[in-house]
């Protein structure tokens, strides 16, 4: 019984804390997920290569590289938003987004914005598929009848984007395909 109460309490607390987190808005009024990260160990070149690798290799099925320079990359992507309770649930829709990455010596920043939601519906074969091809901006206000479910979609999207951001930061810190060149240490007998 105590275990059940503990599980129920943790689910309740988790859902409460998840509800508190929402996207801030940028100067144009769009939702944005914006992070600046210090990275003193890795060079700008390595950061950029790793970020590009994250887009074109690790997430090639869900992201598409739009353009890149020697300091930045721009990509588009989409993620599935699930309606999940404990271990069961189903997709409720997909959110497309713009992803921007910029690197400098000692730090980098990235942001996701221009979120557009497309709801899913179950098709005749029991699979969830997009209901329409024209999505709704995530920051739009919903009418009274659907305010609760729309806020839930915003909250779930934030949670998914935050998880995506964490995985991106971790990837940039640990990707072994693009490592700093190892300096060979040699012993000089000429200088002493």
């Amino acid at each position: 019984m105590r275990y059940i109460l503990a599980i129920a309490l943790s689910v309740f607390v988790t859902s409460l804390s998840a509800q508190e987190k929402q996207f801030p808005k940028d100067e144009t009024g769009k939702f944005i997920y914006y992070k600046v990260v210090d990275s003193l160990v890795l060079s700008k070149t390595v950061l950029l290569e790793r970020a590009k690798n994250f887009v074109v290799s690790t997430n090639k099925k869900t992201m598409k590289l739009e353009s890149s320079t020697d300091t930045s990359i721009l990509a588009k992507g989409k993620m599935i938003i699930d309606k999940t309770i404990l271990v069961a649930g189903h997709p409720s829709g997909e959110v497309s987004y713009d992803f921007v990455f910029e690197a400098r010596a000692g730090k980098y920043r990235y942001w996701l914005t221009n979120f557009v939601f497309i709801p899913y519906q179950r098709d005749r074969y029991g699979n969830f598929v997009p209901k329409t091809t024209i999505g709704s901006p995530l920051e739009k206000s919903a009418d009274k009848l659907n305010a609760g479910s729309w806020k839930d979609i915003q909250t779930r999207t934030y949670a998914k984007v935050a998880k995506f951001g964490d995985s991106f930061k971790k990837f940039l810190a640990t990707d072994k395909k693009n490592s700093e060149p190892v300096k060979k240490e040699t012993v000089s007998t000429k200088k002493w």
Partner: protein
């Protein structure tokens, strides 16, 4: 036929053995519940819609439960329904009292590549615009095209996706709407999907073999175009010929729908339908207009609907029991999807 099926299963088994995919998706659980009230203006069941058949009664649709899971490249879908809509109104052998539920979908699928997949089992039919589940339809009552066409097909099918704009399906199927073939694996079917522009998808379907009323061939066009974020236009046209001039049908239905807000949408269904002549006897013709609203709040949708049907051969009944060329009904349905 046996050799062909054996070759397909051998190929599938070999590929399964080679595949070492371990990615597992969570178990998907979804479904719906629906109930309705209908009032027929002749004060008796009159219009031949598949569902919403009871007059002046708060009646049940069905509870529909769907399970799906994907592990690597393999997945399954199992969908069971309980209730009049999912039993005697859409399952042939339920009327004999042998089934207490209805399998809507029960199949396994394997994605050999991102483009090529194969599916085997019992599936919702690929023919037509409307479906059994009330969640998949805008209107609550159903068209004549839906009522007279196949509901489900058991079989095996292969789908190749050339791009997001073009895909092709071909398969071998049992006769319509049965778990076990009564005339063997007797039908061949195919579907070409094209999406010429963003938002417009068209399915050209053919199913030939044992079906309703005998051996025959259905050709079907099902298409929908989301023209703006508010306006969607759907079209279904079909022709079914049973061999030896033993009947069939032809018809077309147009589905314009307009969303006033995220919560409120209005849709019209205009249909023309004709049974084929049999032995010199002319088949009935029907025209039907259905005006439907969808009012959504979260998972719940209210569906008020007004329907008027006409047929020159007077197949309908007046309140006093006399034959009538016109029939009308009002219904209010509530559908909850989860």
């Amino acid at each position: 036929m046996k050799k062909f099926l054996t070759a397909i299963f051998a190929m599938a088994s070999a590929s399964c053995a080679l595949a070492q995919e371990t990615t597992t998706s969570p178990l998907e659980i979804s479904g719906s519940v629906d109930t309705y009230f209908k009032y027929d203006f002749a004060k008796q069941p009159n219009i031949g819609t598949s569902f919403a058949s009871d007059h002046n009664s708060v009646s049940l649709g069905m509870i529909d439960l769907v399970l799906k899971k994907k592990t690597g490249k393999a997945s399954f879908v199992g969908e069971l329904s309980f209730g009049p809509r999912g039993q005697e109104q859409s399952l042939i052998d339920a009327s004999s009292g042998t089934s207490s539920f209805h399998i809507q979908n029960l199949y396994v699928n394997y994605d050999f590549t991102d483009q090529f997949s194969m599916t085997a089992g019992y599936m919702g039919t690929f023919i037509g615009y409307e479906v059994i589940s009330p969640v998949g339809n805008f209107n609550y009552s159903t068209s004549y095209l839906f009522t007279n066409g196949p509901f489900q097909n058991a079989g095996i099918k292969a789908t190749y996706k050339f791009s997001d704009k073009v895909s092709l399906m071909a398969g071998l199927f049992n006769d319509w709407n049965v778990y076990t073939a009564t005339r063997g694996v007797s039908s061949i079917g195919g579907q070409l999907m094209v999406s010429p522009v963003e938002g417009w998808t068209a399915y050209i379907n053919v199913l030939s073999g044992a079906g309703g009323g005998g051996y025959g061939t259905i050709a079907d066009l099902t298409t929908a175009y989301q023209i703006t974020d508010k306006f969607k236009l759907g079209l279904n046209a079909a022709n079914y010929d049973i061999n030896d001039d033993a009947g069939g049908y032809a018809g077309a239905a147009l589905y314009p729908q307009y969303a006033f807000t995220d919560a409120v949408a209005l849709g019209l269904r205009g249909e023309y339908f004709k049974y084929k002549n049999v032995g010199g006897v002319e088949g009935d013709k029907y025209t039907s207009v259905t005006l439907t609203a969808n009012i959504k709040s979260g998972g719940l949708t209210f569906i008020p609907e007004l329907r008027l049907d006409h047929s020159g051969t007077k197949p309908f009944a007046k309140e006093n029991g006399m034959a009538a060329p016109n029939a009308g009904q009002f219904s209010l349905a509530a559908v909850y999807a989860f």
